[in-house]
Structure formats: structure tokens, C-alpha cells
Amino acid sequence: MTIAQEQGTIPQVVPVEIGRPRGGPKEKRTLRTDRWWISPAVTATVLTSFVAYATFAAFQGKDYYVGAKMHRDLISPFYSPCIAESCQRVAGSHPLGIWASFWNFSPALLILIVPLGFRLTCYYYRKAYYRSFWQSPPACGVADGHRSYTGETRFPLILHNVHRYFLYLALLFNVVLTMDAVLAFNFPGQGIGFSVGTLVLCVNAALLWIYSVSCHACRHICGGQINEFSKHKIRYRLWKMITPLNARHMQLAWVSLVFVALSDLYVRLVASGIIHDYKIF
């Protein structure tokens, strides 16, 4: 029982006053004089470029796998785990070219649902696109681009609350992409080796792991939801490890995003014969 309850003073009903006149000039969108629009403009440009490239790559439905003919086992991260039947014909020796026999389109369109959903519901990307595309708000102290606002309280934005489930799926995908990176050390007909392609897939998998682990939902589930850390030593240690990564979640989000596109581009260029995957040893 709280003090106020003991004294029998509650609950007291108080009004919130709204509509009283405010200070400052009314008509102005902002009084900021710095170039506040740069950041949303850069965000919008990079995100749009990524989406454009990903759409292009996803609709190709070919050149995503470098196989035994070129003595490589490299698969684009956009097409892995390759769960469409068509993959089996292309990436025959590569594991996970299975199920989804109903799928007749480019396998990437099916696969990308998970990373897309993960990033779309990510707390950082939400900030990024709310600011740069939805203008809500475009920058701090700059007026919202919309007349009414309900935030994430209603459909569809309330669906962002599923983020942790996309995290679980993304972690599974990371396991598969890590297997892909391991398989990239295999050079069919030439034994074990290491090429630029191997490096690309290894770095890509590592970046995706760090990005996913630095996720806010991950931080919460690993330890953030606990109030008595002293009684949960292991979860506290996990939370302590994730916290500094989480502080860099934005940077990790960008680096991993750009790198995953570059990885696809690399595999695509090699697979289509435009460049040769240089074997380091």
C-alpha cells in the first residue's frame, strides 16, 4: 500500500489541459538553421539504393551460385537458405536446395521475407524510415509531415511487436549463412582453399551475426527483462556483453546491410563470368 492510498487520497481525477496558446511563431515548420535535412536525405538515398539493388537481384533468379564447373561452392546470401525446388537444379551439390516445390518464382523472393521482415521491424530501421520517408518527424524540432498521429498503437504499425520472432528466424538464417561460409572453403576438384569469395562470405556471416546479436530484442531476452541481475549471473553476463554492441546497433545495421548487397554482387559477377574469383591459397 502506498502512502497516498493509506491516506485515502486516491485515485484523484485530474484534467489534462489541451489547446492553450503556445509561444513562438506558428506558421514555421522549424527554426533550425543547420542542415538538418542532410541526415534524412542520406538515409533515404542509401535505403532506396539498397531496395532497388535487392529487387533487381531478387528477380534475376539466376547467377546466384558458383558451382563445381568453376571449382567453387559460393552462394549469394540473398538466395540462402535456398529453399525453393529450382535451387536444386542450380546449386545441386549445395545442401538445403530443398522443399518449396510449389514455388515457381525466383527463390530469393521467398527467402528474403525473413531478412526483410527482420530489418523492417528493427528498432533502428524504424527510426530511419520514420524519419526519412514518413517524415514523422524528419528531424528533431522539425514539424511532423502529417496532421494526425497514432504512432505504433494501431494496425499496421502495431505489428512491429513481432520483431523478436523475426530475430529467431534471422538467427536460424545466420546458421545457414555460416554453413555457406564454411562450404566456401571447399573448392570442388581442388580440395580445401581460400579465395576472395570465401572471405566475402565469411565477413558477411560475421557481420550478420554481430548485427543480430546487437538487436534490442536480443538484449532484452538475454537479460534485459530481469530485475535482479544478482540472481541470474549467466544472463547478466550475456546482457553485459550485448549492451556495448547494442549501443552500436545503428552502425552495425548499415555495415551489414551494405555488405550483404556487396556479397550478392560479388557472387553474381563471378557466376556470370564477368570477374574471376581470385584464389588466395
Partner: protein, 277 residues
């Protein structure tokens, strides 16, 4: 000696406009010093609120070149322009010149069920470990300047949301209570249904302006949002509660513990003028 032009908002609830004051620049000054010099030499009736001049009382909040800031912590030499605009906090009703009525925040503060510990240990005391309270230390730095409330677009640009929105400062307060090892109240449903946690779209302006550098969004709001997911949106967590026969506190139950509650709880009955604003 170079000159600076201070473009200061003068006015009250009946309206107002900018007045320009030209002054000499003095090395090492902060904006509040210049405002004081205006008061001393050019406009003795200029109203502004201040107290400590050390960034610790949270009184001198205003908007400098459109950015919510403490006047006493903004050095003049960090402002690139020769004309500097000072306006009162935009989100709160104006009283006079740079002074606003921040009582909205006190109403919101009273809606939060206070710290409520369980039964003490047999020796009549409470015990907790340092690691259990380290996390909340950051939240206790808040000086209640309400700059975060001011910059938050949820109420800055949408007055009507003031009816259902506690705001970042109080999410910080709620986080310190919810994460407290000894506290026994579950405020998750209350935050979701009445205090407007879902209105925040984590765009981080509160974090950008906080003079105490509290990572409001990352360390208070997002963890609270995740706790609300546990309570209301996660089927596995729901199943876990069923299996362990645990119940959660409803919003109404939690609200009973609060010192006060705000009057309207739905859009019905809001005066038309309010919605228009």
C-alpha cells in the same frame, strides 16, 4: 569586438513576435548570460526562468535556433550564426516570453504508481546488490528540464495526444521503477493502455536533446516496449504464464495505485478547439 543579434520571442497567451537585440559578444558567455545582459540593459521586462546556471536545475529550457536546449549550457561560441533565435519551449502553453507552463508534466508524473516494495526481510530491512541497481543509475540523473518532452513530436506536433501520453521523461521514470529489484508493481499494461508507450516511434529526438545524456530511447523506452511485448504480444510468454499459473496486473489495477489519473481516456469528449490545434 564583434556584435551578435539576439532574436528573442516576446509575448504571452494573446500572441507575440520577435524582438531584436544587438549586443557585443563577450568571450566565454553562454546564451543565458546574454539573456541576462538583455534584461539588465535593453529589456528589463523580459521574462525567463533560471536558477542554477550550472545545468543542474532544469529551469532554463528554451529553444535556441530551433533546438531545444538549456540556455545555461549552450556556449555562444558553439553557435555558428550572427543572429541567434531564442523561443520558448513550443510544446507547452506560453506564460510570458521565454517562460512556459510545464504543469502537463506534473499531471503525467502523478499517473505513475510510485515505488512499492514487498515485505521486508525478517530483520526488517531490505537488501539489494549493486549490480541490480546499476542500470537505473543513469535514469536518476534526470534534472526534469522537460526538453525531451518538448522535442517529442508525439505531443509537439499533435496536441491532442497529450491526453494519453506520458512522454519520454516519464518513460525514464517508469523504466527506473520497472527495473527496480524491490518494486512489486507491474506497470506494463498501464503503460500500454493509458500512458501511451505505443505512441513513441523511437525516433530518438529525446535522446538527442537530453542534457544529462541519458540514452532515453535505447535504455528506457525500447526495454519498456520489449517488456510490454512480453506482457501483451508474445504468444510464447503468454503460454509460459499459463503454465506457471502466473497472472499479470491489469492497467486498471495498476492505475489504482497511482496518485491521480487523467480525466478523459478516450477521444470522446475532447473539445473541438483542442483537436484543431
Amino acid at each position: 569586438m564583434s556584435e551578435v543579434t539576439m532574436n528573442v520571442w516576446r509575448g504571452d497567451s494573446n500572441g507575440g513576435n520577435f524582438e531584436q537585440y544587438k549586443l557585443e559578444r563577450v568571450e566565454g558567455e553562454v546564451v543565458l548570460d546574454v539573456v541576462h545582459r538583455i534584461q539588465a540593459t535593453l529589456a528589463p521586462d523580459l521574462a525567463c526562468r533560471w536558477n542554477c546556471k550550472a545545468g543542474k536545475c532544469g529551469s532554463c529550457s528554451a529553444e535556441i535556433d530551433g533546438k531545444p536546449s538549456l540556455m545555461c549550457m549552450t556556449r555562444m561560441d558553439t553557435l555558428p550564426n550572427d543572429t541567434i533565435t531564442i523561443t520558448p519551449m513550443k510544446t507547452f502553453p506560453i506564460i510570458k516570453d521565454l517562460v512556459t507552463d510545464v504543469s502537463f508534466n506534473y499531471v503525467m508524473a502523478r499517473q505513475i504508481p510510485p515505488f512499492t516494495p514487498g515485505d521486508p526481510e525478517p530483520d526488517g530491512t531490505y537488501r539489494m546488490q549493486q549490480v541490480d541497481i546499476d542500470r537505473a543509475q543513469e535514469f536518476h540523473k534526470c534534472i526534469e528540464c522537460f526538453l525531451c518532452q518538448d522535442v517529442c513530436h508525439v505531443i509537439r506536433d499533435h496536441e491532442v495526444n497529450k491526453l494519453y501520453y506520458a512522454g519520454p521523461r516519464f518513460f525514464v521514470r517508469l523504466a527506473s521503477l520497472e527495473m527496480h529489484p524491490l518494486d512489486t508493481v507491474d506497470r506494463r499494461a498501464l503503460m500500454r493502455e493509458y500512458l501511451g508507450l505505443g505512441f513513441c516511434n523511437i525516433t530518438k529526438c529525446c535522446t538527442e536533446v537530453c542534457p544529462e545524456h541519458i540514452k532515453i530511447t535505447d535504455n528506457a523506452i525500447i526495454p519498456l516496449k520489449e517488456r510490454v511485448v512480453d506482457a501483451s504480444y508474445d504468444p510464447i510468454a503468454w503460454l509460459g504464464r499459463k503454465i506457471r499459473r502466473k497472472s499479470k496486473t491489469t492497467a486498471e489495477e495498476a492505475y489504482e495505485l497511482a496518485p491521480a489519473r487523467v480525466a478523459p481516456t478516450s477521444l470522446d469528449g475532447i473539445p473541438a478547439t483542442a483537436v484543431e490545434n
